[in-house]
Point group: C2
Chain length 99, copies 2
């Protein structure tokens, strides 16, 4: 889970996320997406659901909330890049956002 994804394994893992609006960060060490909700309670309600999942996985996002928008960056700092932990948390975020 905490092994750096590289080569084809990385490409295969990223492919469905990039199709859903995620992008690689400029340094290639993470993935980022901006989520927009109908209002602040919807945005923070989603964050609360994600927070419980993140704590359970012991893997936490870097995220910024401004009113109904949440900008997320996921990376596994201990591995120096993207791991299965990031892919899974991104999937959880998308699912909880109703996608």
């Amino acid at each position: 889970m905490r092994d750096l994804l590289q080569g084809e394994a990385r490409a295969a893992a990223l492919h469905p996320l990039l199709a859903r609006g995620w992008a690689e960060t400029p340094d290639g060490k993470g993935i980022a997406r901006t989520f927009r909700f109908r209002d602040f309670p919807a945005a923070f309600g989603w964050m609360t659901q994600v927070a419980l999942a993140a704590e359970k996985a012991d893997h936490h996002p870097d995220w910024r909330n401004v009113f109904r928008t949440v900008e997320v960056t996921l990376s596994t700092h201990s591995a120096g890049g993207i791991t299965r932990l990031d892919i899974d948390l991104a999937g959880t975020m998308d699912r909880l956002a109703g996608e």
Copy 2:
């Protein structure tokens, strides 16, 4: 509440916040502070309490959470700067952080 604070009223309102670790943003239109907690649940638990107060006041923070740290910026965009809404929300944040 949504009137721009200026001159002596602004200085008087900011004084106790600056003494508690808040700083004016470089553009002078907001106040910022970084809060650190013992772990992610403590950080997000505090955010949840703040979120309820923010929604009740209909005044929301710009905040970024990375693990046990939360960077906050408060400003009243409709007024183009700092109002009593920001001062009050900053006070609520400090109080909920146990200060």
